[in-house]
Amino acid sequence: MKKVLSYFNKITIYIKDSFRRMVSAVKTDAMYRRFVYLFVGLNVILLLSELDIMNYSTVSLYAYIIIFTIVALGLNILLGFSGLMSLGTAGFVGFGAYGVVYFETLGFPYEISSLITIVIATFIGLAVGLFSLKVEGVYLAISTLAVGEIFSQIFKRVTWFTNAYGGVHYKYPTLLGFIELDRNMTYIFLSFVMVVMMVVMYHLTKSKTGRALLAMSRSNSSAQAMGVSISKYRLFSFVVAILYATIGGILYASFYRYVQPLDWNLMLTLLILAMVVVGGMKSIFGTFLGVFIIYGIPKLYLEDLFSSVSGVAYLFSGILIIVVVMFYPYGMIHVTHDIKKLYNKYKIHKQNKLKAGDGDE
């Protein structure tokens, strides 16, 4: 009994300590504050929609943005940090979505079915990672495309798993067996998971692990000379990317409650890739911005604006992608930097004008 109590004590001390460190971190590190702002901001949208200031469907749209931010974050670790390309992302998202539904129909609770899906995804990630030890560059990218295509064939044909073209229906998740979430609660849950995944990425990339990934992608031999194990970190980055994608898929099924096989194609993969590139490689908030530009702007603005002629919304979102990539090859997140620069220029200009004015008097 005493032993149990002392363990309990230790754990409470540990939790208190972690909490204290978290609070102090939020106070000192601006990044954490931004994570909190983002979380609050996303939930303000929910509030606005509840108050009928925003459309009911806008929440669905932001849920999509949240889900694909998670997926794109994983790809950003893989591409931005490890310099590896994957064209199988959509397949892994689809796997996550189908997986959680399937294991729940077997009778497992939400958490366990998610966990099983994640564990299977880890093994798939390890397999892809092992493959990547032998195959490089464009060959690797197209090989992952093959993996994605195999997934999409499975989604279309393995009836017991995916119900083929009929698709599978699902429900809002029940946490811990008794907390039944409704649409709004699921949305809050989604945004919470997204912020957690962002913090995980932030921690990972600003550590020895992140530096090792960068070292590996920028110069293989230099990384080896510094003791970075290429095989370990290649496996690691594929596993992480696929886990992020799978978690995105699980959340997709949880919010939209319907999964059908035709969504998980090369087009979606490329759009996710575009989200990463347009937003900004290696940037967490850039990824969110990228998803917003690629998915949010067309859905929120372009489709309403050009609803009269079919296809024109597409035309504009295509042009948007091209223009952004051409003018911001390092990602839209750098636009803030440019705005600051412009503002400074304007301020200096204004000051000079004032000074000139002083001279006249």
Partner: protein, 273 residues
């Protein structure tokens, strides 16, 4: 090579690295041919030879970037064990106390100077990625500790004012310095420098010579370097080994090498021409 695995090796006291009968072939070309030399503890050792003499190949053999070579490379590692480096994987070499730089620097351009140094301490970190994800106490303490160490090294190299700047856009001389600073992070016993003075101007080269000697004194390690700048090599090295076409020519003090007829013929050109 495999019959060497379980053998125990001997080194003369005071010797750090002993290369015996090293040969390396690329197809029909013999880049290194039956080469032997040794490096003592706390010494600066130069490896010289004309272009294409196989110097970088020797480096890549020692640091195990090349497999399938003949000969043995005996090393007295950090734990004072005598080992054959050929038994060690290229990614584990740094753990034994041997670290190298590259001819074309190979730093990470989109990281700050101090983060580049922290990569040098990669193998010293004990925390794993789970610790990193949760930013555990140990992981953050380690991070602070090695950051302090990196800063100390940067101060020693007199480039600490650059610590938070990106590596991209720094002048070549600074990049070379960062490369050397990064090697110091791993507490090495032997640092291998591939053309440290290439691309530097005269002031920078003089500064580098001083730095070499300071590193040897302060960090109690040996340095093996390949260099074309003869003035630099002769000024800074305790001993020099000259090779040509992968073959041993001479080994001795700078004065001995300077006067050695074979070296003069191969490297400095013949007098009567």
């Amino acid at each position: 090579m495999s019959d060497n695995t379980n053998k125990s090796y001997v080194l003369k006291p005071g010797t750090l690295l002993d290369i015996q009968n090293l040969s390396m072939r690329f197809g029909g070309l013999t880049a290194v041919n039956n080469l032997s030399f040794d490096i003592k503890e706390n010494e600066i050792f130069g490896l010289i030879g004309p272009n294409g003499a196989g110097k970088t190949t020797v480096f890549n053999c020692i640091t195990q970037f090349y497999k399938d070579k003949d000969g043995i490379i005996i090393f007295n590692n950090k734990k004072n064990e005598i080992i054959n480096l050929n038994d060690i994987h290229v990614e584990k070499i740094i753990k034994e106390g041997l670290v190298r730089t590259f001819q074309n620097v190979e730093l990470i351009k989109d990281l700050s100077v101090i983060d580049n140094l922290l990569i040098g301490a990669h193998t010293l970190f004990k925390s794993d990625f789970i610790g990193h994800i949760f930013r555990s106490k140990r992981a953050s303490e380690e991070e602070t500790f090695y950051k302090a160490k990196a800063l100390e090294i940067l101060k020693f190299m007199k480039i600490d004012y650059l610590k938070d700047q990106y590596v991209a856009g720094q002048p070549y001389g600074i990049l070379k310095k960062i490369g050397i600073a990064r090697t110091l992070m791993s507490n090495p016993k032997l640092i291998i420098l591939d053309e440290p003075a290439a691309g530097l101007n005269e002031t920078e080269t003089t500064e580098l010579s001083k730095l070499m000697i300071q590193i040897k004194e302060n960090y109690k390690c040996s340095i093996l370097l390949v260099e074309h700048d003869m003035g630099f090599v002769m000024g800074v090295c305790d001993r020099i080994c000259a090779i040509n076409f992968g073959k041993f020519l001479a080994l001795g003090t700078p004065d001995y090498i300077k006067r050695h007829p074979d070296v003069q013929e191969a490297y400095l050109g013949r007098d009567d021409e």
